[in-house]
Structure formats: C-alpha cells, structure tokens
C-alpha cells in the first residue's frame, strides 16, 4: 500500500527514531482526551457573536436593550461600550500593524466581523438574543481584490494607508540586471493563487473565567498558550501573570490558531463583565467566514536562464489579498518572497511584495506560510522553461540547487541539504512506473522550508523556547515545556528527546505543556519551530540533569577520570563496562539525598543568534505525483505519489510519517479541491458540503523516501518536517496536467472546468494555426 525507506545509520539511539506510540495516544483512542470544546464549568454561560452583514460599513449605533430584556441573557458587549477601542495585532513590535479591534468601534471591514457578543444561560437563548440587537450601519463602498484596492479611487479601508497598501517587503541579492543580461532565455508569467481554509476539526473555541481576585483563566484551542496569555493581557488591561491560558488538547491548528480570535476575546470581555465563566464555540460557518485563511496571491515572476539551463536571475512582484487586517499576513508576505527563490541558487534575485487591504476575511499564516503559493508559480514556470529549452527538468533543477555550505546572500546559510539525493530517489520512482496508461501523467515539484523563524516580531522578552526537567525520587521525570501539541505530536517528540538525552525510558517521562501557569514561555507551534527550538531546549535541560546525576555517580565510582559514565534506558554504567552499573532510580535516590533532599532540576533554553534573516535550518524535498484526468470532464484523480524528503535526523518515526502523509492531503486539496469563492465579499461555500477537501477515497499512497542528513543546529541533527511538504503538491499536480495536455494552469486550485476550457482554447488555437 505504502512504502517507506528510512535510512538511519545512527543505531546507538535507544529511543530516537524508534517506533514509539504517541504519548497522548491512549487518551485520544478512548475518547478521554478533553478539548476546549468539551470544557464545562460550574455556573458557565454560553456566548454568541453578532457579525457584520456588510463588507464595509460605519457602525452608527448599537442598541442592545431588547436583547438584555430577554430572560436568560446576562450581558451584551460591543466595541462602543466595552472595549475602549484597543487595537491589537500579533506583530507587537510594530504599532501600525496592530490594526484590529476585535469588536470594532467605528466601522466594520468584512462580512462576518464581530460587532457584539451575548452571554446567556443557554446557547439557544444567546442565539435568540443576537436577533434582538439593533445595529444601525451606514454602508460604505467596498473593494475585494488587491489589484482593484490599490487603484487611486478605491475606497480607503484603514486611515493613512495609501492605496490600501498594508505592508511592503523587498528582498534582493546580487546584480539582478546584470544577471538578466547574462540570460539567454527569459520567461515571464502571471499566476493567481487561491486562499484556503485551515478547517481545523475543532473550530475556534474558548472558555474564559474571570474571578473577583482579578485573575483570568482561559481554556482555548491555541497553537501558543504563551502568545494568547500575552495578547489577552494586553487587550484586557491585565498583568500577564494574571492571565492563565490552558490548552489541554487542541483539535488542529495549521497556522490559524495563534492570533487572538473572536471566541477568545469575546468570552473574556463577557466574563469580566459578569464574573462568570463564558464559553464560545464557533459554528463551522463562523469558522469559515471569520477565522482568517491562507493568503490569496497574484504573482508576477520573470526568470532568466542560460540555454544550458543555468539559472541567472529572477524577479517577482506579488500582490496579496490581505483582507481587512494584518495578523500574521506580514510574515507570509516575506516568506513567500524568500521561498520563491527555493531551492535554487540565483546570481541575482529581487522580490517586491505588496500586502493589500481588502474588504474580505483577513488572510494570514497557514501551513507552508506563503511557500505553497510561491512554489505553485515557481515550480511550474521552471518546468515550462525546461520544456521550452528541451532540457531534462530534473537535471536542470539539480544543477541549480542549493547544497551544503551554500549561502543565500544576506539571507541564510545552508548547513545541511539533501536535495541532490532527492532527485535520485524520484528518478528511480519514475523509472519504476514504466509506461503510464494514456490518461495518466506525472508532475514534479521541488521545495524547501524553514525550521522555525528567528525574527522577534512578537517582541518577547523570553527565550524562544525553554524546558525544565525535574527528576523524581522514583526515577520518573517531569518535563515542562511551553511547546504546544496541536496533534503534530510535539509532546511525544519532546519526550523522546528527553528520554534519549537523560538516558531513561520514554514511559518514565511525563510531559507538561499547554498551561502558562506551570510551563515556561515558548513561542509555540508555528513555522516548524518546535522540534528544533524546543527540542534543543529539552536536550539542554535533560543533559543538565544528567550531568548533575553523573557527578554523584562519578564521585562514588572510584573510576579513573578518563573513563566515561553514561546512562541508557535507565541503566547507569561505565561505557567501557556496560554490564556493571546500577539503576537510574538508585542513583537518583542517592543524588537527591546528597543534595539535602533537593530534587534534581535541569534547565534548558533556545534563543537564536546570528542565524541569518529567516531560520537556523532548512529542510528539502522533491515530490512526484501521478495524476489521472478525465478528458471530457476535466476531473482529476490522484493515483500515486512519492516524496523524497530531507528532514535531517528523524526523531519521532510514526509522527514523521503522519506529518508527511497529512501534509500531502492538505497540499493536494490546495492544488485541486479547496476552492473558496467570494462574491461581493461574501464567501459562497462556508460549509463542508460545498467546500471540498481530500477525503479518504481521494487520497493516493503517499510514499516517502527519507534522505539522511545531519543538521548541526538541530537536536541530534533534526530539522523541519511536515509543514514544508504542504509546499510542492499543487505545483506537482499543475505539472502533471501540463505533461498530459500541454496546457499551462496559472490559477490554483485547478477546477475541472478550467481544464476543459483550456483544452477547448488549445483545440481552437490549433485549428486556427492549421487554417493559416
């Protein structure tokens, strides 16, 4: 069904890259795992949010008196009376990018924007109360597409942003014009990349409980408990230490759950008003229309190469549909520009990105973070260039690819890179397919991705990751991390690293995460950062604890000091004489007594320094997808796939396979299913009947060849896995369509009618050509 080649020469590992179950597995397969969705507190009220029906309108007046008179309604909040107009945003370092009032005071900027919120004794009453709130609006002219919104006469969405340009980004290296002059072939194309809904199975959810001692406790579905602690403290006027965020189990994130959302904000404001717990769960429709989305982009890219396929120069101009607010969109704007250069060496590279405000649902980060859009355009154009010049597309890619030690000028240093072996693996896979049936074709796409971001736009005063390891007297271990497990398995990954580094069994490690009162601050689960950053912190903390323990062992052993002691799987021993030793538990008991009863505590942290502009490490991959297309209907079916993937040293074997397969399904959906049409600012398919995504019967085998490399910056040589693989698939599908029919798809997701129309146009053009 599926095959994996996991090449691992590092046999001495006892826990790392072995087949261990997810440590949260029992809770999840028995229905015991409790999510924010399941939280029920004594005296809890239910909140509902009234949303704007207009894409752009002034709020003249809000009258909630009728709603408040409804029996069972305890409070109504709105921007004019309750939130003091505080603007917020996650790019806290830059004031002008903190542009969102979760309950706006003066005007609404997209359909679905929260306007008021109600707390009532039941959800039903809260819902009824929404209908009784009178809001007087004055409609304003609206604009929905970035290329319209930048026009001089377009309506102004935010004051002081000329032509609605929210953020611009410029990336440049080398002598671009000179490099274009060296080129013997230049190609330019325009592309359109769609949005995509995160579609977490658990919709946005929060339960907030404010108590008379001035303390706020919030259960929420988040990718970063620390971010939400800090963001909520900021908007609520509380000290960070008085806000406790709990994220026990999280039903998916995918980049959509680390900004402040309406559920969290409104639940808190309502709870502060009534001093009772308030629960808000978004319906699926609310989650579609009011929880942000992958950033839609218009891409212009111009590429110059030599006739032998050597890449010279590239320049790209990108206009993104930012929607109504900034959020993480500023980061997506930078990353799409950077990864549009990947994984190739360019003598000259220039990128100009413009994030444009429109009166639509705000766009933000989503798994891949701007790179799936970048690769949709880049990897198709490169395929077309190879065809235009009659070159082998794999070999052309190979000769221009990054390699170990390559420096992306002014941006990044590539310490590990397995892309070259990826080309070999995919060539072998294609060969193994033999001659394909007539209605099938194969498309390829290469890419790379980061292992955590290094830029401190959140302005945190803390290290990016921290870990504390406490060793109990019975030899069990408490690991406290701020890393957030959102299903990707970070609790398990951290337990594996701790067990390996400290020398204990994985079942002896208890992981504590998702609670800001008890876990050290960590930026959380986004940008593929936790395995490298939290992983390093955990390794450091575990080694710290181990060193303290071994000092006691050494002191008692009477060994010559040139001999090494070690701990493996709970056995303390001299490396030269592994059979002689003692149990970890026995050592811990003596060491604890020797420290006057103090528990052994190890501390670790990670803060990046001098790691370029983007990330400390990069993963690489090449993907091949076999596609079957019905000539008449244009319907696409995925038949098979193979991804050669370099994530450094794999840590969590099962977790890695799951991440790669899961990323494929989401990436394929972006390529051909997850169409998100808007009409006059209104999303036309905000439900799971009309919003199509990959289901079990659509999913082909997702074969993986793991390329073994060692990343010096990562714990045990590990780097990113699972987010980067969202990047190649759309382009690989596009390339398969190209190889089948010779048509160039410039818009994703590709819908069947687009293929049918392109084939008609092609036939018409050929007929025209024959006539001449």
């Amino acid at each position: 069904m599926n095959k994996y080649t996991v090449i691992n020469p590092h046999e001495p590992f006892r826990v790392l890259n072995t087949h261990v179950h997810n440590i949260d597995g029992i809770a999840k397969v028995t229905g015991r795992a409790t999510y924010t969705f399941d939280v029920k507190l004594p005296g809890m009220l239910y909140g509902k949010i009234l949303r704007s029906p207009y894409p752009h309108a002034k709020i003249i007046k809000i009258d909630a008196s009728k709603a408040l008179a409804l029996p069972g309604v305890l409070a109504v909040v709105n921007g004019k009376d309750d939130t003091l107009g505080i603007k917020q945003g996650i790019w806290r370092r830059y004031n002008d990018l903190c542009d969102e009032q979760v309950l706006p005071v003066d005007k609404v900027r997209y359909i679905g924007e929260p306007v008021a919120a109600v707390a009532a004794v039941t959800e039903e009453i809260a819902e009824k109360a929404l209908d009784l709130i009178d809001v007087e609006y004055e409609e304003l002219p609206a604009t929905f597409e970035p290329l319209d919104a930048i026009k001089k006469d377009a309506p102004e969405i935010h004051e002081g942003f000329e032509r609605n340009i929210n953020v611009t980004r410029h990336i440049e290296w080398g002598e671009v014009e000179e490099a274009f002059e060296e080129a013997e072939y230049i190609r330019e194309d325009w592309f359109k990349c769609g949005g995509q809904a995160h579609m977490c199975m658990e919709t946005r959810a929060a339960v907030a409980s404010y108590t008379p001692d001035g303390k706020m406790t919030v259960w929420t579905s988040t990718q970063s408990a620390y971010y939400h602690q800090a963001l909520l403290a900021g908007v609520l006027g509380l000290r960070e230490g008085n806000v406790r965020v709990l994220a026990p189990y999280v039903g998916g994130g995918f980049g959509g759950k680390f900004e402040l959302d309406g559920a969290q904000f409104c639940a808190c404001i309502l709870s502060m008003k009534v001093r009772k717990p308030v629960k808000i769960i978004f319906t699926r429709e609310e989650d579609f229309i009011a929880s942000k989305r992958r950033t839609p982009m218009f891409y212009y890219t111009r590429t110059g190469v030599k006739k032998d396929g050597t890449f010279c120069a590239r320049e790209a101009k990108v206009f993104t549909n930012g929607g109504a607010y900034t959020g993480m969109g500023a980061t997506a704007l930078y990353l799409t520009g950077f990864f549009h250069s990947f994984p190739y060496r360019w003598k000259g590279y220039r990128y100009d990105g413009y994030r444009v405000y429109t009166n639509t649902l705000p766009s933000t980060s989503m798994r891949g973070f701007g790179a799936p859009q970048a690769m949709w355009c880049s990897e198709q154009q490169i395929e077309w260039i190879a065809a235009d010049l009659g070159l082998d597309p794999i070999e052309m890619r190979r000769k221009n690819s990054h390699h170990e030690g390559y420096v992306v000028p002014g941006q990044a240093t590539i310490a590990s890179c397995g892309i070259d072996q990826c080309y070999d693996e995919i060539k072998t896979w294609i060969k193994s397919k033999g001659k394909l049936p007539k209605n099938r074709s194969i498309g390829l796409s290469a890419c790379g991705f980061m292992s955590g971001g290094i830029f401190n736009w959140f302005d945190t005063p803390y290290s990016f990751s921290s870990a504390v390891v406490t060793v109990n007297n019975d030899g069990t271990v408490e690991l406290h991390v701020g890393a957030q497990d959102i299903g990707q398995g970070s609790n398990t990954t951290m337990a594996i690293i701790c067990a390996e580094a400290l020398g204990v069994k994985i079942e002896d490690v208890k992981v504590h995460s998702g609670d800001t009162d008890h876990c050290p601050a960590d930026l959380g689960a986004w940008g593929s950062r936790q395995t490298l950053m939290t992983g390093n912190a955990v390794k450091m903390a575990s080694e710290d604890a181990k060193k303290q323990l071994l000092e006691f062992a050494y002191a008692q052993s009477g060994l010559n000091i040139v001999y090494d002691l070690d701990i493996k799987e709970g056995w303390v021993h001299a490396i030269a004489r592994p059979e002689r030793g003692e149990t970890f538990e026995a050592l811990v008991k003596r060491a604890t007594r020797g420290k006057d009863g103090q528990r052994i505590v190890g501390r670790g942290y990670y803060t990046p320094h001098r790691k370029g502009m983007i990330s400390p490490a990069y993963s690489y991959m090449l993907q091949g997808v076999e596609v079957e297309i019905d000539d008449e209907t244009g319907k696409i079916k995925l038949i098979d796939s193979m991804t050669a993937h370099d994530c450094g040293q794999p840590i969590n074997h099962l977790g890695l396979i799951g991440q790669l397969e899961g990323a494929f399904s989401m990436a394929a959906g972006y390529g051909y299913l997850e169409y998100m049409p808007f009409e006059d600012g209104k999303m036309m398919n905000p439900n799971l009947v009309d919003y199509k995504m990959v289901r079990s019967t659509d999913m082909p085998p997702a074969n993986i060849a793991e390329i073994d490399t060692y990343e010096p910056e990562g714990p045990y040589g590990a780097k990113e896995a699972g987010e980067g693989l969202t990047n190649p698939t759309a382009a690989a599908i596009g390339n398969a369509i190209y190889h089948r029919f010779g048509i160039q798809m410039k818009e994703c997701p590709v819908r069947p009618e687009m293929i049918v129309n392109a084939l008609k146009e092609k036939a018409a053009a050929e007929k025209e050509g024959k006539k001449k």
């Binding site: 229905g31 795992a33 199975m201 396979i657 494929f664 799971l688 289901r695 997702a702």
Partner: protein, 161 residues
C-alpha cells in the same frame, strides 16, 4: 415543546433523560449524559466526528434525534474498551499512528469498527469507502486505512477472543 422522559442505552448503561424531543442524539450523548468523546465538527452532517454505532451500524449522531435511538444499542468511543483492555481497532490506531489532533478519532474509530464487524476480508477500496464520510484534517487517512487493514487481517485476533 413539552419535555419527554426517555431511556438511552449507551455503552451497555441505561440512562434516563428528561429532554426536549428535538434534542439530537449527539447533544444527548455529550450534553446530557456527559460522554464528550463523541465530537461535533459541523452542522451539515458532513464531517463524521459525531459517528457512533447504533445496533452495530455507524451513524452520524447529529443526524438522528435522541428519541429515535430509544431501545437501540448505542456504542461510543468510550464503549470500545472492555475492563481497561483496548479493542483491536484502538490498538491498531496506536500502532499505526492513525490520529493526530484526535478530534475526528472517536468518529473514525466507530466508522472503522462498524465496518469491520460487517465486512470480512475487505479490499482497500472498501476500507477507504468505509471512512469516506469522516473528515480527518491531520493524517491524510492512509494510516487509518492501514489500521483497519491490520485488524481485518487478524493482527490483533488474540485480543478479540
């Protein structure tokens, strides 16, 4: 609407509930009985997160009223294990890593279990079809199909007896 007294048999336990007759089965299970393993991910009977077994058939519990399930044998994810011993499908999910965030898992387990009770020696296509009504945003489904296949092939047979 006048409330009604009904008895639901969930995981072999009888629960007496005094509920509004328009209460959905998923609401009765989650909000009235308090078994929160069964989830909800949509309002359109599309996602399968609320799937339970009624008389061995996989049913989306948001698609039936609680009163319609009276007298039937309802099994939820919490009812799969017996005396602390996991059912084969649960063990297979652990071994294959057939879940990530876990939010769809309860429903996915029930669709899989109902399918396995009904179908001997299933083909891969049948296994995929069995969970077509359940959305999983995390795993890409293949690990779930591998788990179903492992149980179908009798990998966990000794546990069954």
């Amino acid at each position: 609407m006048e409330k009604k007294l009904i008895t639901l048999t969930v995981n072999d336990i009888e629960y007496e509930l005094y509920i509004n007759p328009k209460t959905l089965l998923v609401e009765a299970i989650r909000d009235h009985i308090g078994l929160t393993g069964t989830k909800r991910g949509c309002e359109t009977v599309s996602c399968g997160a609320c799937t339970v077994m009624i008389d061995d058939m996989a049913i989306k519990s948001c698609s039936v009223l609680a009163v319609q399930a009276e007298g039937r044998r309802i099994i939820t994810a919490e009812g799969l294990e017996k005396n602390g011993v996991l059912a084969p499908i649960q063990k297979a999910f652990l071994d294959e890593g057939s879940y990530q965030c876990g939010f769809c898992t309860s429903g996915m387990l029930m669709s899989s279990e109902a399918f396995l009770r009904e179908t001997k020696n299933p083909t891969e296509e049948q296994m995929k079809e069995a969970i077509e009504g359940n959305i999983c945003r995390c795993t890409g489904y293949n690990s779930i199909v591998r788990a179903i296949a492992a149980v179908a092939k009798g990998k966990y047979a000794e546990v069954k007896s």
